[in-house]
């Protein structure tokens, strides 16, 4: 894993000292809020509904155990004993006070972490496939590329005041586990004729105007990544709209100008920039790559795993849902669910974080990941260790067997915390998870992704949920719109709205009606919700959601 160089350490220490002085000047009155706000946002400090919120980047979702332990310490010392993992591989602290934030940032720097560029119109935390370096299907580990992009984009003088925020995501396999098609720039490691390169997508995004990213280069040679990225972003910096916040993201720039025009401009800029990159970036990348060498996997028997699998049904249920295929024989990728039924999606207490840190150190080569689906991953666990790992997870309520099922819900903080929200998300997620747990239907329903956002900005990715829920304020009352058929994978699709929304009291019943319609219409237990939706379209689900209307229709006919 990447460790900071002397340059990184000095840079971070200086930034933290600057921010400490800025906080002091705000408190003593030398800075007005107007002057201070852009400074605090550059350092990840928001002011939310009930308190300040500090958003800490977890670059490409990767943590060492010592870092996870420090996140636990910060949660306990300066917050209310927990943290919230987000859909962009960040952790948010919901209750810091202004005076404490400089100390929190210093504590983060002790473990090579920061909150720089987690807000503002800059290049944000670079995210990656949470199975990076472990997945059986990958061409290469995307994290060295993500780290190179992090170093290039951090404090990049040209890109501190972009028209709007800007998000990169990187994957190393055909399977898209990082929603790259909904990012401003999506990068996929590919191989062509034995040579490594990148497929580059541009102009994806969710929010008010959801768009699927378009390919701007199908195969970019490895050494061209930074100049080409710089060409895309600098083209946007000039062409992007600054007159209207809602039309300022690159997805609108690409949409309004057309991908062909955008591509031409980018290529012209690239031709200018290319000679300026003389290979130093490739030396840096080589050094980063050497720090992401695969761990020494051991060759051992999996008997203990097999024995537990056949004798312990609880273990088996967990193994069936929470494990994924690892590239090394005898190993598994473990997803730890932060979605225990009735709990807040993505929240972990300090004790839970410490346990996950210990387990990551003991069983996963000191490697822990945070997924955009708000779960925690131990990427390299030998199968013989799984029974002991599972037993340990149970002690802290972390052994829920629901990955990819109806209760594995993405939910943004919504109006319980967020100043931008128009409705609550968390209690909706809690109630849906509890409902289907009580009905014991979860495993019968099978793979299903529900994603909930508490406003149109779509932090909860509702557009790409198989079932998406969007909370709005309709005449002073919370109202929830439903979309169906969304997909955040390599087959990215924007979900379609079903019709009028539902009240807070009605939304869980509405979801249950959709599920019952699915169970009634699927052609076998093997046909997933998304497959049934794609085969039949929205009509049977609309009929279940709006029975009065369907009745009216048939009466008229």
């Amino acid at each position: 894993m990447y460790t900071y160089s002397e340059f990184d350490k000095a840079f971070l220490a200086e930034r933290n000292a600057q921010f400490r002085a800025q906080v002091e000047r705000r408190i003593d009155g030398s800075l007005t809020e107007e002057e201070f706000k852009p400074l605090r946002l550059m350092n990840g400090l928001y002011l939310q509904l009930h308190a300040y919120m500090l958003r800490v980047a977890i670059p490409y979702g990767t943590l060492r155990s010592a870092q996870m332990r420090q996140l636990a310490l910060i949660a306990e010392k300066w917050d209310k004993g927990y943290g919230h993992f987000t859909t962009r591989q960040n952790i948010q602290y919901n209750w810091p006070t202004l005076r404490d934030v400089p100390d929190m940032l210093d504590a983060l720097s002790e473990v090579e972490m920061h909150a720089i560029q987690t807000s503002g119109n800059t290049i944000r935390n670079v995210t990656a496939d949470h199975f990076a370096g472990a997945a059986a299907d990958e061409v290469g580990d995307p994290r060295p590329v993500a780290e190179l992009l992090r170093q290039w984009s951090t404090d990049h003088p040209e890109f501190q005041f972009l028209p709007r925020k800007f998000k990169f995501a990187v994957i190393g396999a055909e399977a898209d586990r990082a929603v790259i098609r909904a990012h401003d720039i999506g990068i996929q490691l590919v191989e062509k004729n034995g040579k490594r390169g990148y497929r580059v997508l541009v102009g994806g995004g969710l929010g008010r105007t959801p768009m699927i990213g378009k390919v701007i280069r199908d195969f970019l040679p490895e050494e061209d990544l930074l100049p080409f990225s710089e060409a895309i972003v600098s083209t946007y910096n000039i062409l992007g709209r600054r007159d209207n916040k809602y039309k300022a993201r690159i997805k609108i720039t690409v949409h309004e100008n057309g991908i062909e025009t955008y591509k031409e401009l980018t290529e012209a800029r690239f031709a200018e920039l290319r000679p300026e990159f003389e290979g130093v970036d490739q030396q840096i990348l080589a050094n980063i790559k050497s720090q992401f060498a695969a761990p020494a996997f051991r060759n051992a028997t999996t008997e203990a795993y097999d024995a537990a699998y056949y004798s312990d049904p609880v273990f088996r249920a967990w193994a069936d849902t929470n494990l994924s295929a690892h590239k090394a024989e005898g190993y598994a990728i473990v997803t730890i669910s932060l979605k225990k039924h009735g709990e807040t999606p993505g929240d972990a207490t300090a004790d839970q974080m410490r346990l996950m840190a210990d387990l990551g150190e003991k069983y996963s080569h000191d490697d822990i990941r945070i997924s955009h689906e708000q779960n925690v991953i131990l990427p390299h666990v030998h199968k013989s260790d799984l029974p002991a790992l599972h037993a340990a997870l149970k002690t802290q309520g972390l052994a829920t067997a629901n990955i990819g099922l109806i209760s594995d819900i993405i939910a943004c903080p919504g109006m319980d915390y967020c100043a931008l929200a128009t409705a609550r998300s968390i209690p909706v997620a809690q109630e849906i998870a509890q409902r289907f747990d009580a009905l014991k239907m979860e495993h019968e329903i099978g793979p299903l992704k529900i994603k909930i956002s508490g406003c149109i900005n779509a932090c909860g990715h509702h557009h790409v949920g198989h079932i998406g829920i969007l909370g709005l304020d309709r005449a002073g009352v919370e109202n929830y719109q439903i979309t169906l058929g969304g997909d955040g994978t390599e087959e990215a699709t924007i979900g379609q709205r079903t019709g009028p929304g539902f009240s807070y009291e009605e939304i869980t019943n509405a979801i249950e009606r959709i599920i019952k319609a699915y169970l009634a219409h699927r052609d076998s237990a093997d046909e997933t919700f998304l497959e049934t939706y794609r085969r039949l379209g929205a009509d049977p689900f609309k009929a279940a959601l709006y029975p009065d209307k369907a009745e009216g229709k048939s009466n008229a006919a």
């Binding site: 809020e33 002011l47 009930h50 308190a51 919901n94 807040t344 319980d416 002073g476």
Partner: protein, 99 residues
């Protein structure tokens, strides 16, 4: 006839703690909505917002929020202000736990 004016309070977040505060008739800030000054006249409300906004060393982001006058004091008319007054619904944190 002019449209009836919905009563208002001036609210903001405290500079240091970041929590929700309300402006009182004595030009001070309180954590209790019941102690807030209820403004029933539009011109007066605008003036009081200017007064409140001057206290940059104590608060951030002052604005006028709709309330309804009740015998127990002002009550929020919108659910957002109700959440600000109480706290999040997933944990017993914030004002509901502290006041």
């Amino acid at each position: 006839m002019p449209r009836p004016f919905t009563p208002k309070v001036v609210t903001a977040n405290a500079l240091l703690e970041g929590d929700v505060v309300y402006f009182t008739a004595a030009d001070t800030w309180t954590r209790h909505l019941s102690e807030a000054e209820v403004l029933t006249d539009e011109a007066d409300a605008d003036l009081r917002l200017i007064d409140a906004s001057r206290q940059q060393n104590q608060i951030v982001g002052a604005y006028l929020a709709d309330v309804e006058a009740t015998p127990e004091g002002p009550k929020p008319t919108h659910f957002r202000e109700e959440f600000r007054r109480t706290g999040p619904s997933n944990y017993f944190h914030g004002k509901q736990a502290e006041l």
